[in-house]
Symmetry: C2
């Protein structure tokens, strides 16, 4: 039976209209079948693009009737292979991209209600148009969707003050595995009427239900935002600088990013036009952001006083506050160029880890020593959201070595080395990227066994047939 | 068979030692069997007081082996009859009060790890001793426990900026229905390694597992806190004042409480020694709190500028900033005396509701009119956390009427009237108190039916025998 004649296809066309059921016979499906980092190319039975929550529910019922697995997909920008089909050609990709209406903005309640397929930037702009602020920001914001952000509990650069994506969400609309619609689109700050289903679906990576709509929190715009750059002598000093900045600035501290010297050297090598400030070759640099509710002069005085205190206490060796918006953008641009510079430099082994902030210096010292012992000459690109305890702790092959060979030979071993140490320091092997397929087999080594059993019980309860994004989060063998 | 010879009792004594298994034969169990508001007096088979999480697990296993239901209990200060046994004499009360160690404080990570039975005030003091702040505060803080706060997702007076109890919790330790211990005591701001079990147990009122430990977030102390009192001409003005204060003060606005004229008149009548400021008989008063990370002079200038702007824009008719800490305490004390003044005045029908902030003026106007139509002369005590959309919307019998008769005649009808309107305005029938037994039969009328089915499926998955706090949240008939 060719794909185009699969009996499910007729039901899908009835559900959403034939223009919105794509198969390889008529369309190039690469954009739906390949993941963002191009680590995996799958093959879909079909790609279905429903335009309403009701159509999503109809697609789910049709797939359930045929026992066909569903892979929900937003902007397909995930980093852990969680939103593309496997290679079997038996899975339906359910793309949320046509479900992209901004439904309502309530300025007095500071809430924005929208379809799950809205691109994050569109949501940011909707808030902006009302003079308000949606403080969710991440590299993929031009193409990732709100539904994907919530399904993976995305992080980004504003977590220090506003939390992860889950913390910005007040309400959800979800299509369940049996094709019903839960209307939980409440815009309430307090609601203790039963189990918190919202937080259960958020971060479940499409394995428990399909998010079709959400209510997000908005905030008044800060009157001024300022960015500063500080050189710090080590991670102990960076942790001390964080505590000092939190004392001085309180909730005004909205960004605290750290970058090691090697990460910045890669930016310098591959993007020479970017001017990195304070070229004093300190072991680490920190980017600080202050959001102030008064005005720029006030913000500048506070930030300068904070940095002066930091230098006096030797948490920083030098520091500079961006003089204007263009300079501030450049500082953020340097920080955001690290992943690209790293890709230019060649293949590397990535780790998106989190730790108690207090354990970061000891963890990094131990991990660097262990990595050098395991692979002499290996180079560490260490950067991330220190304020959240989240590091992108990436291992680049020794200078001049063969990247692919390095990955083949060492990826598994280096992962185990880093994750074992993360575990010993009370950390997490996935801070903000999720589990997807990429870490599903690894998760059981590091997650509490009781927690895994509880998760399996929940999966069986909410998706007894195991048709929602199978193999993600919990590996297939954990399912009935 | 008398209670003292019940075959389970031996197993319980083996688990925790006989000194910690109390029965009515040897001890007055009133404190464990009667709820805070004295609406219900149950009868327990026994009260068990384990001293470690392992003992909690052993108690749960013993009860499971005998098919005996367990009612977990913290400080027994809940308001919805969720922590006391039914009248059957067949349920075991599992008191967490002996599980009361502060386990660890990590100043650099801003976390506090403690046993679930710690009294909230003890936790606050542990933070204080390290120069840090646990911003969870509620009337019962001298006797309620952290485990109870989390099991019921308590609210309180700091929700506007810091969220509900769930938002202050990073990690949990939980004994499952089969008597195993999930160690989820992580102190991480980011952790995307599977379903968020933490948020599922938080707010589940002991029906899915028993919280035995938690990791809470701490914050640096604000440099100054100031409290102000404003008279406002109506709820539209109060909502406008909230928006204005949020624009001016940003995250510095940590409190925004509203009280209607009648609520304050009861305080004046029953606590004449309390001096209520601005006795201008405005329809509503607002209490604002500013937490500032600079100093008191700065805080005062900001708050005064905010209030001056509010008066100019007619969101407030008059306002005063507390001159010192004693005055600030008095203002909070007035606010916190409302429930007591109300109790002095006589019986009343309580509603702990939340609404989108934008809907509060319309809801209150409609509800007041409907209440007057239903019971002429009825008096409304309307106060609460306006910044969170949370009102305590309590109905006092007409002046001079017979309280008990009023309750008997009208409670059900007034509940239905208020809740139906809450529902129509997109609100919640339980903002911060939970469901317990008191609202379990009411919940299905107002909660989405798909949500209820999902909750039942989760309950069956995690507590298949239905032994954990039966009848709470989901009424018994929903269980197998």
């Amino acid at each position: 039976m060719t794909e185009t004649r699969h009996p499910l296809l007729g039901a899908l066309r009835d559900a959403v209209g034939s223009a919105h059921v794509l198969t390889a016979a008529d369309t190039d499906l690469t954009a739906y079948e390949q993941d963002w980092r191009r680590r995996h190319r799958g093959r879909a039975l079909a790609v279905v693009r429903p335009g309403t929550p009701q159509e999503v529910a109809a697609v789910v019922r049709a797939c359930a009737a045929h026992g066909t697995p569903i892979v929900p997909q937003g902007g397909n920008t995930g980093l852990v292979v969680g939103g593309v089909p496997d290679g079997s050609g038996t899975q339906v990709v359910l793309s949320l991209q046509r479900l992209n209406r901004v439904r309502a903005l309530d300025a007095d309640n500071l809430t924005l209600t929208l379809d799950a397929g809205c691109v994050l930037q569109v949501a940011q702009q909707a808030a902006e148009a009302a003079g308000l602020w949606l403080p969710l920001s991440l590299a993929a914001e031009g193409s990732c969707t709100i539904g994907g952000n919530l399904a993976t509990n995305a992080g980004g650069t504003q977590v220090l003050r506003f939390g992860n994506a889950r913390d910005l969400c007040l309400g959800l609309e979800v299509v369940t595995a049996d094709g019903r619609i839960w209307n939980g689109l409440r815009g309430l700050r307090k609601d203790n009427t039963g189990y918190d289903l919202r937080h259960l679906f958020i971060g479940s990576e499409g394995t428990l239900g399909i998010i079709t709509g959400a209510v997000l929190k908005l905030y008044p715009h800060p009157a001024a935002q300022l960015t500063a750059w500080a050189s710090v002598p080590g991670l102990d000093a960076a942790v001390a600088l964080l505590a000092l900045a939190q004392r001085h600035l309180g909730p005004g501290l909205t960004g605290f990013e750290v970058m090691n010297r090697f990460a910045l050297s890669l930016v310098r090598r591959h993007f020479p036009a970017l001017h990195i400030p304070l070229a004093d070759e300190a072991p680490y640099a920190v980017l600080l952001e202050l959001s102030d509710s008064e005005d720029e002069a006030h913000a500048r005085a506070r930030l300068e006083a904070t940095l002066a205190d930091a230098i006096e206490r030797a948490c920083a060796s030098d520091a500079v506050v961006a003089a204007n918006l263009a300079q501030a953008r450049t500082l953020w641009h340097i920080r955001e160029s690290i992943p690209l510079a790293q890709a230019e430099e060649g293949l590397n082994v990535k780790h998106d880890i989190s730790l108690p902030v207090s354990r970061i210096p000891a963890f990094c010292a131990e991990a660097e020593a262990a990595l050098q012992a395991a692979v002499p000459g290996v180079r560490l690109v260490n950067f991330g959201h220190l304020g959240d305890g989240n590091l992108h702790f990436n291992v680049q092959c020794p200078e001049g070595a063969d990247g692919p060979a390095f990955l083949r030979q060492y990826e598994g071993r280096l992962n185990a080395l880093v994750y074992d140490l993360v575990q010993r320091h009370g950390g997490s092997i996935s801070a903000e990227h999720g589990i997807g397929s990429l870490k599903a087999a690894t998760l059981p080594r590091y997650q509490d066994p009781v927690a895994l059993d509880l998760m399996r019980a929940i999966k069986r309860a909410l998706d007894p047939a195991g048709l929602l994004n199978p193999g993600r989060v919990l590996a297939d063998n954990a399912l009935p």
